[in-house]
């Protein structure tokens, strides 16, 4: 013991030290980063963010310089806080809060104290900044909007939040990142790459030259300019038509899947989210929980599609060969199923075959077709799943895969859905239990984008391209491959002609005959969807949604459009009018029916929207 004690202690010490070194140097990697923060100062050079253009090369978004007052907390020397606060025009309390926040984020890294100064404010401040050590002005570029529309498409940029910074080490406090729309989706292309300069510092925080002679320094790379598929004129016109209404418009180019217009109403001027009033304006928009201006109804609104869905029911019926274009179905004011249950219909000639059924939107006809589609199979489960398979091929019931950051799946029910709903096998269910699906009510839900997309698939007679907003990145014509790939529907092209014919007759003599546009052969379908709302726990029915889908011209279609006006009553009343004006504007470039244009531009549904919140009883659908 006496001979080995010291030896033992020495050897144990050696092992402990080796272990400690192994932990410090190999296991705990945090020191490797810390060292960078500590001895090396990083200076950034922010590149210009890429511009955004519309499909015709019109500039939508450019940049304006902006100046942030930044602080590096540990470099701050005692200062006359009152004087400094007066200079920045902020309160002492606010200043203390911001300093505290900056210290918590990092004593060594810069944090913003006062973001987004104007040029005039910058000029005034820059002369006096030298007095305040640890503070400096960082130049950045902010967005300069050339248009006052398309806020939902363009999105906005904002300071990266602590959570984003944690997830993505590229960003630092005070740096800007795309938060919505194209700005978010194409953030990496738009932002470019910031340039970095590493400066070696000593412990008094003095610069002692470029770190490793600047071999790690990089130059900034300018962001790429993007050309969008949006037609600025059409987009602006659509937003004007939707003033004082709520809803969405989606217009696609069927031959390519390009999004010509994506409108949500109400909307806002994108310039509201730039500059020092940004956070106040944003809060205002964010907390408007009734009109929801930040909610993109075209992409996120899930609605029952109503009668336009009948075109799909017809297509599936033809493909499944359970009906042909010659067979007529009688309508006795509705469709009777089960024991005395009836799904009503409106007045129209009877009996009708496929084309007339679509033109007159006969419920009985499509209920018959739907039931046969489901009952073609031994069990309703198989029938529903087969029906679901067809609809899925039109891009329904799931995310479409377009290049914008928000969206909803909609709903096309499956057998599993109904089994759960009806607690199968405890209770059985049959085609008739789901009969409302035939006419786009029932459980079926779609976003206006999905409606526009299936309309484009009909216009193309059997295929569609994924809708997308990107036309060009910089000068290359390379857009992601998924947007140049044809998606072919399960319905054979030959079955589309009768449906297209029916949609054409909607305009010729059917439910939209008053909406004809001279010289343009339009195919469309009206829709009216019942809907309910809950206000303070009370469920009440509101005026029907006004829905319209259309494409034009009938041969070689240039535009497919879906219009959705919340509580606009019947289909052709608002949605149909708006759709026909949009089509005319896009194809002709001018409006001949100025009376109708006047009517829509001045029309308001604000009274309708106020009804459920008035607290008084009200009547609907009038």
């Amino acid at each position: 013991m006496r001979k080995v004690l010291l030896l033992g202690i020495v050897l144990i010490t050696g092992v402990v030290f080796a272990g400690r070194l192994f932990y410090l140097q190999i296991l705990d990697t945090s020191f490797q980063k810390l060292s960078q923060n500590n001895a090396v100062k990083v200076l950034y050079d922010y590149p210009q963010r890429g511009y955004l253009f519309d499909r015709n090369g019109k500039l939508l978004v450019s940049n304006q310089p902006s100046y942030d007052v930044m602080v590096i907390p540990r470099e701050v020397k005692p200062l006359d806080t009152m004087e400094f606060c007066n200079l920045l025009k902020i309160s002492k309390g606010r200043f203390d809060t911001l300093m505290q926040k900056a210290k918590i984020y990092s004593p060594r890294l810069p944090s913003p104290i006062l973001p987004q100064l104007t040029k005039a404010e910058y000029a005034y401040l820059s002369e006096k900044m030298y007095k305040y050590e640890g503070f400096y002005i960082q130049k950045r570029s902010l967005r300069d909007y050339q248009v006052n529309h398309s806020a939902n498409v363009l999105g906005y940029i904002a300071e990266a939040s602590p959570r984003i910074i944690e997830e993505n080490p590229y960003y630092q406090m005070g740096e800007l990142i795309g938060m919505q729309g194209v700005e978010k989706q194409y953030e990496e292309a738009l932002r470019g790459v910031k340039g970095v300069k590493y400066i070696q510092k000593d412990r008094f925080n003095r610069d002692i030259g470029p770190y490793k002679d600047g071999i790690f320094d990089t130059l900034p790379k300018r962001g790429k300019d993007l050309t969008l598929t949006i037609d600025a004129i059409l987009q602006k016109y659509g937003e004007e038509l939707m003033v004082n209404k709520r809803g969405g418009i989606v217009a696609l180019e069927p031959a390519t899947g390009e999004i010509l217009a994506l409108i949500t109403a109400p909307n806002y001027d994108p310039a509201l989210l730039v500059g020092r009033d940004r956070s106040r304006n944003f809060t205002e928009l964010y907390y408007d929980s009734i009109a929801k201006p930040l909610f993109d109804r075209g992409l996120q609104g899930e609605y029952p599609p109503g009668s336009p869905f009948k075109t799909l029911t017809g297509l599936i019926g033809l493909q499944e060969e359970i009906i042909d274009t010659r067979e007529s179905v009688s309508c006795y004011g509705g469709y009777v199923y089960g024991r005395g249950q009836k799904l009503g219909c409106h007045r129209h000639p009877s009996p009708l075959a496929m084309i007339g059924g679509i033109a007159n939107s006969c419920n009985a006809y499509f209920c018959t077709v739907y039931r046969r589609v489901i009952e073609k199979y031994p069990t309703p489960q198989e029938g529903i799943d087969n029906w679901h398979r067809h609809l899925k091929s039109f891009g329904l019931g799931d995310y479409l895969g377009y290049d914008l950051p928000v969206g909803k799946k909609g709903l096309i029910p499956t057998s599993e859905f109904y089994n759960r709903w009806y607690e199968y096998p405890k209770y059985k269910w049959y085609a008739t239990a789901t009969i409302s699906n035939a006419i786009g009510q029932g459980e079926v839900l779609m976003t206006p984008m999905q409606m526009a997309n299936f309309t484009a698939a009909i216009a193309n007679r059997g295929y569609y391209y994924k809708p997308h907003i990107i036309k060009k990145i910089e000068e290359e014509n390379s857009i992601p491959d998924e947007y140049t790939k044809k998606n072919i529907t399960t319905v054979h092209p030959k079955y589309f002609e009768p449906v297209v014919e029916g949609m054409h007759d909607v305009y010729r003599y059917g439910t939209a005959s008053m909406l004809q546009v001279p010289d343009i052969e339009i195919c469309g379908k009206t829709g009216t969807a019942e809907n309910y709302i809950r206000v303070e726990g009370k469920r009440m029915q509101l005026t029907d949604h006004s829905i319209f889908v259309a494409f034009a011209p009938k041969d070689d279609p240039k535009i497919a459009i879906a219009v959705f006006v919340e509580n606009g009553y019947w289909g052709s009343r608002w949605a149909g009018r708006i759709a026909s004006l949009m089509i005319e504007k896009y194809i002709k470039g001018e409006i001949t029916r100025t009376d109708m244009e006047e009517y829509v531009l001045n029309g308001s549904l604000q009274d309708e929207y106020a009804k459920p919140y008035s607290g008084e009883p009200f009547k609907i659908n009038r």
Partner: protein, 420 residues
């Protein structure tokens, strides 16, 4: 020269380890003290140039030490010890103050720190005392004698004030234990040292709480054996009383300059933020080294002078940053190898004087290494003492060289006798 006569084989392994540590040490001092100034390599203002000169002089010193008859060291140990004590006492009159400690004699632009040489002198005196035919470490009067030999220089050094150097005298407990001192002294010694350091580093309140907590745990674990509560209370009171007296001496008997120096040694001076600044910086430097380090003279922490005293007490952090795990592991291995080699050599000595001296050398080098690397890697509180052969400083290097090579000389003589 007289080497031929009574010298047998030199222990070349020890000499190799010594040379390896000194050269690696210089390479790192070069990096840690490299500045952007344009002064040339041979400019005496450069720290690394001075250290190179110290190393060359230490080689001359080695030749001199090896040239002297081995018997000289045993015969003259008492005189060397007394001269050493006088040189320590002389500091109170002629001493020069450097960073708060009056531990230096100034000769022109060079300064000598006698406490660095006092370790070797004490080791010689202790070896002489213990190897005396009458000495029996089981008897109290001889224990007292041995402790006095150790404590007198330590007590002179403390008020200079240089608590770090004084602490090192605790190392002599190892050779005493080897020669028959009761194990309890070993425990007591280390416990007292731990209490001493932690009282100064963490304050009386935390130490008192810690002692009570540890005693409580022991009492609770042994409760089945019905321990005497009285005994526990006495021991706890004694510990806290000791801590209080350390605290009292520090706060009341010491002057402010003593306290300042203690605070420098305990790292409280630079650590204005109170978060262990130097240890923190040193951990960052070592941690950022990774597997193989950033390369010689490429350490960012080293270059930025973030680690205080990096060329002296914190030199090991440069090794960690620039040579990574591989480099620092090699240095650890060299130190462990040297100490182990010295213990093996001590055990093979035929004569008790050489054995006690060898053990003392091994223990002193080990305690320096243990406290220094423990501090630099953040395992122990900050106690400013140099890393042997590595840290910058002429006195330190020469002190360790003398300490080590007297033993190499004694060992060589021993092997000569054993062969003849």
């Amino acid at each position: 020269m007289a080497i031929g006569k009574s010298s047998g084989r030199l222990d070349w392994l020890t000499i190799f380890l010594f040379l390896a540590l000194v050269s690696i040490g210089w390479v790192n001092i070069y990096s840690a003290s490299l500045s952007d100034s344009t002064e040339g390599f041979f400019d005496m203002g450069q720290i690394y140039t001075k250290q190179l000169l110290f190393i060359i002089l230490s080689v001359l010193l080695i030749v001199f030490i090896l040239a002297i008859e081995a018997k000289f060291y045993e015969r003259f140990s008492s005189i060397i010890y007394i001269v050493s004590l006088l040189s320590l006492l002389g500091l109170f009159v002629f001493g020069k103050t450097i960073s708060g400690a009056t531990s230096w004699y100034a000769f022109g632009s060079f300064s000598l720190q006698p406490s660095e040489f006092a370790k070797a002198a004490t080791a010689l005196a202790l070896a002489k005392f213990v190897s005396d035919i009458q000495t029996n470490l089981k008897e109290f009067k001889y224990q007292l004698g041995a402790f006095l030999i150790i404590l007198i220089p330590a007590i002179i050094i403390v008020p200079q004030p240089d608590p770090g150097s004084a602490l090192i005298y605790a190392a002599f407990i190892f050779p005493l234990y080897r020669e028959g001192l009761h194990f309890a002294y070993l425990l007591l010694g280390f416990f007292a040292a731990a209490l001493f350091v932690s009282t100064l580093a963490f304050g009386i309140v935390w130490v008192a709480l810690g002692v009570i907590l540890i005693a409580g745990i022991f009492f609770f674990r042994n409760r089945k054996k019905r321990p005497s509560l009285f005994k526990y209370i006495v021991i706890v009171s004694a510990c806290i009383g000791f801590a209080f007296s350390v605290n009292y001496i520090f706060n009341n008997l010491f002057e402010q300059r003593h306290r300042d120096r203690f605070n420098i040694v305990l790292g409280k001076e630079i650590d204005a933020k109170g978060i262990g600044y130097n240890t923190n910086q040193s951990e960052i430097a070592i941690g950022s080294g990774g597997w193989t380090g950033k390369g010689w003279t490429q350490g960012t922490q080293t270059k930025g002078n973030f680690v205080p005293e990096q060329h002296t007490d914190y030199i090991f952090s440069t090794v960690g940053e620039e040579w990574g795990f591989v480099g620092s592991f090699i240095v650890i291995a060299l130190f462990v190898g040297l100490v182990v080699r010295l213990v093996i050599m001590a055990e093979r000595q035929k004569n008790q004087f050489s054995r006690v001296y060898g053990y003392s050398v091994a223990s002193i080098i080990f305690l320096h290494f243990f406290v220094n690397v423990g501090m630099v890697t953040g395992l122990f509180p900050t106690v400013g003492i140099p890393l042997p052969f590595f840290s910058y400083g002429g006195s330190g290097l020469w002190g360790f060289t003398i300490l080590l090579f007297i033993f190499v000389r004694l060992d060589a003589a021993n092997s000569y006798y054993s062969r003849s």
